[in-house]
């Protein structure tokens, strides 16, 4: 690691103040991506602003029809939360299958969403459940939040404070995990809501994306049969040592059908 100044603010306001005006300052949530990146000297921040001491950022509450999860809430806490299990069990299930226990005890939902790793699980839930991302400066709708590879709509010095997930009628997440890292080679989150069905895919492309053809078919008939002939083009999908673009395109269909079956159980 290169040398940097370490800060541990106690409030969002202090954290934002520390980030302000420093071009190379980086916020740190659980550090599960940032610390390895620093160790490999792929980043050289002047300052690391550790959000771990900001108590107001962690916690889960139910507000009306929404489950609101603080940005610094750890995956393990989302996975075991009675509120999340009761209202959006698919989200608890997703969180419980991120990485391994050591990662789930440190990694946070806000960090995962802000990092926008193409193979991260949470972006699929954010988009499929049509969540709202709240920051210190405002709110972002799920559609349009993820801009591309590790790229989001967040501005300089903007910190996610919480993510609000509307409760769906039915939902499920299925992923084909990389057997070593448990990152999603392909993960599909399917949600049936009052305003229709949403299907979001992570791991397959540079960023999470929706499959409109599946959404339309499932809105008419919420069964895996309804999407059995829908193919996703391999163009622009990820191709690496773990799988080709064609293989990932095929997995999107398989995972989507399994997710629908799981949601219907």
């Amino acid at each position: 690691m290169y040398d940097f100044a370490y800060h541990r603010p106690k409030s969002v306001a202090d954290a934002v103040a520390l980030l302000k005006g420093k071009e190379e300052a980086r916020p740190m949530s659980g550090g599960m991506t940032l610390i390895p990146t620093l160790k490999q000297r792929l980043a050289k921040p002047s300052d690391v602003v550790d959000l771990g001491g900001v108590k107001e950022l962690a916690g889960i509450k139910v507000e009306g029809g929404n489950v609101v999860i603080g940005a610094m809430t750890k995956h393990g806490d989302v996975a075991t939360s009675a509120d999340v299990k009761a209202h959006i069990p698919a989200l608890a299930d997703l969180a419980g299958h991120i990485g391994d226990p050591q990662v789930r005890n440190r990694g946070t939902i806000g960090g995962s969403v802000a990092n926008a790793d193409p193979a991260a699980d949470y972006p699929a839930a954010v988009v499929a459940l049509n969540a709202t991302v709240t920051t210190n400066t405002g709110k972002h709708a799920a559609d349009g939040f993820f801009k591309g590879l590790f790229e989001t709509a967040l501005g300089e010095g903007e910190i996610i404070t919480s993510i609000s997930f509307p409760k769906p009628e039915k939902a499920a997440y299925m992923k084909f995990p990389n057997p070593a890292s448990r990152y999603a080679m392909v993960g599909v989150f399917v949600a049936k809501t009052a305003s229709g069905v949403r299907v979001a895919v992570t791991g397959a492309g540079p960023s999470v994306f929706r499959v409109k053809a599946m959404e339309e078919a499932l809105s008419k008939n919420f069964s895996s049969d309804a999407i059995k002939d829908i193919k996703v083009p391999a163009t622009d999908l990820n191709s690496d040592i773990h799988g080709s673009a064609e293989y990932r395109a095929h997995l999107v269909g398989v995972m989507a059908r399994r997710a629908v079956d799981k949601a219907n159980k």
């Binding site: 100044a5 390895p36 391994d100 050591q102 005890n105 440190r106």
Partner: protein, 158 residues
Amino acid sequence: MAKLHVSTTINGEPQEFLCDAEQSMLDVLRGPLGLTGAKEGCGTGDCGACTITLNGRIVCSCLMLAAEAEGQEIGTIEGMAGEELHPLQQKFLESAALQCGICTPGVLMAAKALLEKNPDPTEHEVRFWLAGNLCRCTGYDKIIRAVMDTAADMRAAR
């Protein structure tokens, strides 16, 4: 840059240390604090050989900045045995659930955390819980069996 002063608790005892911002908890444990039970396998959070507890929850100490320990409670393998070995340690010895031993401290920390949460885990649950601890020698079967056997012994002893 100036050293950071950290006050923490390690295995129940108050502990202070000085560190650089870029030092990991594992660096400080194994270096200045002389607690060499936690091992550095990969250094990237994949292998779990550096597993410690942070406020009772298992984490990879290689992916934790030492400065983050301020005001927190750290547990290491050195705190696992009391007057006698912990039943898991004893069982690992008896059933030879280790070969080279590099992964063992991390596996024991993770297994202990599991049994505290779930005294009667299924084999599937043990495997799922130990997913963050890699062993390149034993092929896991002895480890999983040792954890299951310890759980059974501990239930019987209650």
